[in-house]
């Protein structure tokens, strides 16, 4: 026990004294959250649009105001003719042009039908359709309000609804993604590299020749990374909740327990890598190619698994992050309980057991 505490203290010194790594460890999740949250998002915020109002009545003014007030758009240009719209698109000044037809209000009130045209710049396909979709929904919601005032008969009302993430925000997708990446990075890659570093520097030899059991050192080594990992989970959740306004729907206890299980899984992976490699570069390379890439590709975070060819889908079944990512989404975003994620949890627990057994078996008490 005393030996364990001595090792633990030493490991904390290692982590604390390595300032550069520490900044990366603490800063990376924050940076990733900010990047994905504000810079790399594919949602539309404050897109510049132009209004071509051929009617200039109360309703078109009201609609223009609503578009401008919504957080998706800001109205930057008022134009007089469709040719101007073309020019604006060419100059890249606006993402969309909303055109209200002549006699907009009169047509609506008297003929019960009027038309609005939304022209979106689809050079960037996703943004184009998102902008059009958002603009249409702003107008539709106004229409719904009008309908409540005056009941109109025989109208087919189509309503499509996006559940769990109605605004199609990217936060519910990338927050679990960032958590997966941070935990796999910290708990496997850094643990593996830290153990191999001791092999490289010769200190492992000194520990092996001492009466201390090497696994005591390995456990002590894992603890600071585990703590930093859980700290990062906390920071990510806090940022998601406060800065990005992502609601925490599921049970926090369940979420943290699942994170704990995944951390164990990642640590076993890191340990296994460290028993098979002798240089930090190799350990880093194996972790990157063997863990980071599959985690990115096969977790469903960046690319939907359903769209992948069958062989890749089969491969994805052995990638642990796939299960963790699915659990995170279920618990965090959908607010589901344990009864919905027990299968994934079982798979992760099984993987942990297998990896840990393999790692302990190949961990050498002697040098060769």
């Amino acid at each position: 026990m005393k030996i364990f505490l001595a090792f633990l203290q030493k490991e904390f010194w290692h982590v604390i004294r390595d300032r550069r790594s520490l900044v990366v460890l603490i800063g990376m999740p924050i940076l990733m959250m900010l990047l994905y949250g504000f810079a790399l998002s594919n949602e539309v915020k404050n897109s510049r649009i132009a209004i071509l109002d051929l009617s200039k009545d109360d309703i078109t003014r009201e609609l223009t105001q609503r578009l401008d007030a919504s957080r998706y758009f800001s109205v930057t240009e008022y134009i007089q003719s469709p040719t101007q719209a073309d020019q604006l698109f060419r100059q890249g000044k606006v993402r969309a042009v909303v055109i209200f037809q002549e006699n907009f209000q009169r047509n609506l009130l008297q003929a019960n039908a009027t038309a609005v045209q939304i022209i979106a710049d689809a050079a960037d396909t996703n943004t184009g359709s998102t902008v059009a979709f958002y603009a249409a929904s702003v107008i539709r919601s106004y229409q719904n309000e009008l309908q409540e005032l005056q009941k109109l008969p025989y109208r087919i009302h189509v309503e499509s609804q996006m559940v769990y993430n109605p605004q199609q925000e990217s936060a519910p997708n990338f927050v679990p993604g960032v958590m997966v990446l941070i935990l796999i990075l910290l708990c496997s890659m850094l643990t593996a590299v830290a153990i191999v570093r001791e092999k490289e520097s010769g200190t492992m030899e000194l520990i092996l020749v001492s009466p201390a059991r090497p696994w005591v050192m390995v456990v002590a080594k894992a603890i600071p990374f585990l703590l930093v990992g859980m700290l990062n989970v906390g920071v990510i959740l806090m940022m998601a909740y406060t800065v990005l306004g992502l609601p925490m729907r599921g049970s926090l206890v369940l979420l943290l327990a699942e994170c704990g299980l995944f951390v164990l899984l990642a640590l076993s992976l890191g340990l296994l890598i460290s028993t098979r490699t002798d240089s930090q570069q190799t350990a880093l390379f194996i972790s990157l190619v063997g863990l980071m890439l599959p985690s990115l590709v096969f977790s469903g975070f960046m690319f939907p698994l359903e769209n992948m060819p069958k062989p890749l889908q089969i491969i994805s079944n052995i990638v642990p992050t796939k299960y963790f990512f699915s659990i995170l989404k279920s618990v965090m975003i959908k607010g589901l309980g344990f009864s919905y994620v027990w299968k994934e949890t079982l798979v992760m627990a099984g993987m942990t057991l297998v990896l840990l057994t393999l790692a302990v078996r190949s961990f050498k008490i002697r040098l060769a």
Partner: protein, 263 residues
């Protein structure tokens, strides 16, 4: 006898690193272990310290069998490896404390030992310096003292003075003599022939075998050499390196004359 080996052998695949060596070391002896790079010194030392399991043969170290009781051996020996291997990002005192705890020193005992050790090395002022910032010679002295902190009966030193300046080497050997004076057995590998002279007995390893083993004085007589340098060079590796001429019956001095070494 604190070390006895009997046909101790280590093979790595097809390669035989240590080939049936048999020797013994008496308690309190300073035993020099010489040999060219790759002769098998480090492998032999690792087997004796319980770090490597032997392929065949037997060895007893401090009364325990290296094949079956390595953990018992580890408790009673000190070890200093070829590469400097304290933690560079810990301070002098932190390293002392860490290794003291690993070897099971009690708290009070540990702080007394640490103070004494720092004073002996005149490191008291540097106790809070990161080890990585110390000059190599200081690191090696510290490394040795840390290896001796739990007062082992036997200490293995693997090329402890490699790359260290002559003055520090001399100080280092004073530390070794002090330890031997307290009754510890010292098992040391070295490339420096002047250091070989400091040993009670010296063995020379060639290609995994022990080619010669005796006191420095006796070896000099045996190889008709003036100093250990000549003994070392006259032992088989040089003869093997010039296979087309038969030097086996020519005295060492004349072989050396032909192969003038830079001095």
């Amino acid at each position: 006898m604190i070390i006895t080996t009997e046909n101790l052998t280590k093979k790595f695949g097809q390669f035989t690193a240590v080939d049936q060596i048999s020797f013994s070391v008496a308690e309190g002896e300073i035993f020099g272990f010489l040999g060219a790079n790759g002769a098998g010194k480090t492998t032999a030392m690792r087997m004796l310290s319980g770090l490597l399991a032997p392929t065949s043969g037997r060895a007893k170290v401090v009364g325990f069998d290296v094949a079956t009781q390595p953990e018992d051996i580890k408790r009673s020996i000190g070890y200093m490896s070829q590469r400097f291997s304290l933690y560079e990002d810990l301070t002098v005192l932190e390293n002392i404390r860490l290794f003291g705890s690993i070897y099971g020193l009690k708290k009070v005992e540990l702080s007394q030992k640490a103070t004494a050790l720092l004073e002996q090395l005149q490191f008291t002022e540097q106790r809070n310096t990161l080890v990585g910032a110390l000059p190599l010679g200081w690191k090696q002295k510290l490394s040795f003292s840390v290896a001796m902190m739990h007062e082992p009966r036997l200490v293995f030193l693997d090329e402890p003075t490699g790359g260290v300046d002559p003055i520090t080497r001399r100080q280092f050997w004073e530390l070794i003599y002090a330890a031997a004076g307290r009754g510890a057995t010292v098992f040391v590998t070295t490339h420096y022939m002047d250091e070989a002279e400091y040993c009670d007995r010296v063995s020379i390893m060639v290609d995994g075998r022990i080619a010669a083993l005796d006191t420095p004085a006796a070896l000099k007589v045996q190889f008709e050499a003036r100093d250990m340098d000549e003994v070392f060079c006259a032992s088989p590796p040089l003869l093997k390196s010039v296979p087309h001429e038969d030097f086996s019956r020519i005295p060492a001095k004349r072989i050396l004359a032909r192969h003038t070494r830079p001095t």
